[in-house]
Amino acid sequence: MTVTEAPNVARAVETSDKVASHLHPTPSYDLADHPVPTGREEIWRFTPIKRLGGILEGEASDAHLTWETDLPEGVTLRQITAEEARALGESLPADRPSALAVANAGGAMLLDVPAELELDTPVVVRLRGSSADDLVWGHLVVRVGNHAKVAVVLEHAGSARYAASTSFLVGDGAQVSAVTIQDWDDDAVHLGRDAIRVGRDAAVRHSAISFGGLVRLNTEVVYDGPGGEAELLGLYFADAGQHLEHRLFVDHNAPRTRSNVDYKGALQGEDAHAVWVGDVLIRKVAEGIETYESNRNLVLTDGCRADSVPNLEIETGEIEGAGHASTTGRFDDQQLFYLQSRGIEEDEARRLVVHGFFADIIKKIGVPALEERLMATVEAELEKNVGARPGAGA
């Protein structure tokens, strides 16, 4: 494990609106600013570009995912134009897929949670694709009014080649739990981007949960005022041949803001590939902020690969704290031995350990209705491995 504490010195980089990071090209709606990548670019080097089904070429398409929604009273969903979405103040697209999605989607869906609405039941949007032949462009804006309290769950299933830009515009003092679940069929490709604007003193918890499909998801956080909090959680389970990539960028552009990134993943099977890139930028103005990012990978079998790249760019030393940790470990045989020595069969012991590995993340997601289901999905994923292992259960 490497734990890096931020040095208490400022780097002599002056930035204003422009993102200094080489990891993050200047955001722009203009496609010319986001050329087709070759795969050698820093932000594309982990992604299997050849397997993206031509999404990056940006052909027009009017195919859609089917939408099924649970909208509690007071929450509305309607179509708006791309211009209206822009006027609402969504973050500009930061990479080619999101720029293409905005350009090609032909308008956006606006999910609107009015100010001061407090909901006990989550807003659920189930998005389903019918075929990997379909190229789908998605553009969604989730607007949460000041002091509202809401959980929004976006579920992706079925199959498609899907690129989407999703913006969360979180008002002052609002409390939002956003969950995006990628449980696609194996042949699906999902290039997603969740851009979160955190209002003054607002608290946002964003959870990215990826089980199936080829997924590359960018989660970006920027603050619209001081005192905002972002907790970014992730859970993924990569199987043989599968690519799951989660990229995070937290732009501490306001004072006394906080961020905490905690991603956990398991990998199993030949050529299972997980990528986690976490970048935190602490701008000169961002005094008194606190940030920590952590990525932990549990490697269950041979033949897997986990790339984990934490990155911290610091322009002021006047902060409360900053750090990161990244670990990638094999299954802990000592834990297995301990449980087995108490009579617990090997398969059951493995289940317990993986359960335990993910349990704290699942609890933190904070949507009780999801907890059991996520654990069940983890178990089902694990079953593939346990079942496939020669001599298992003998």
Binding site: Q334, F337, Y338, S341, R342, I344, E345, L352
Partner: protein, 252 residues
């Protein structure tokens, strides 16, 4: 009744320079109701013996046999050995993040018994077992051994001994790192287990201190991978006075 019989046991571990023999022919019979203490200097192979009986994959048995009531233990997996009635209290109990003590104990009990314990009596049993070793019952909600002090980990091992109630318990330096109060509590737990009359105990220790609280029927001095001397409780007193020096010198 239960008899654990170890015959001419040879065990090696893999090292960078190839396999290294740690146990060099161990003979030991533990009949039901008997408590055997194994004492020896560091590096003599005491813990290897404990882990080999439990089936830790790091250790390779190259020859010899271990049987429990005549049944071949070495052919069993780790969990099968536990279900057959063996228990190892570990010197360094393992932390299992995200798995609560309550869940762990219930899962283990279910595995050992072949069916889930009745919920109401089970909770009572768990609380009672924890109280007997002066463990706060709220610790059942904590993750297994995570953030436990050294003493709490050892007491948690005794809770398991009490609840799983094996035929033969191997205690690997359960006394190490304990203050005198904790040592007494742990010893009382082992004595309760013994008082059932038909349980075997293999008590592995570096120090004679614990033998003031747990009276062994037999004492074996373990040096360089085998038993160098055996006798009754008086042998422990002799070791207390003289140390291991003469056995270590004899083995060189």
């Amino acid at each position: 009744m239960a008899t654990l019989e170890i015959r001419d046991l040879h065990v090696s571990v893999d090292t960078e320079n190839g396999p290294k023999e740690i146990l060099k022919g161990v003979d030991l019979t533990i009949k039901d109701g008997e408590t055997h203490a194994i004492m020896g200097p560091n590096g003599s192979g005491k813990s290897t013996l404990a882990y080999s009986i439990a089936g830790h994959p790091k250790y390779t048995v190259t020859s010899g046999s271990v049987t429990l009531d005549g049944v071949d233990v070495l052919a069993m997996s780790v969990d099968e050995r536990a279900r057959a009635g063996l228990f190892l209290a570990m010197q360094y109990p393992v932390e299992v993040p995200g798995v609560s003590v309550a869940n762990f104990l219930r899962t283990a009990k279910t595995a050992i018994e072949g069916q889930a314990p009745k919920l109401r009596t089970w909770i009572k049993d768990v609380n009672a077992a924890m109280e007997k070793v002066a463990m706060d019952t709220t610790m059942a909600q904590r993750n297994v051994n995570e953030g436990f002090s050294g003493g709490e980990k050892k007491r948690h091992e005794i809770v398991q001994l009490e609840l799983l109630n094996p035929k033969v318990a191997v205690l690997d330096e359960t006394d190490s790192g304990l203050d005198i109060d904790a040592l007494k509590i742990v010893s009382e737990g082992v004595n309760r287990f013994r008082e059932q009359g038909d349980r075997g105990v293999l008590l592995i220790t570096h120090y004679t201190r614990i033998l003031r609280y747990i009276k062994p029927d037999f004492v074996h001095v373990f040096v360089d991978g085998k038993i160098a001397e055996q006798g009754g409780p008086e042998l422990a007193e002799q070791l207390e006075a003289e140390g291991y020096d003469k056995y270590v010198r004899a083995a060189v």
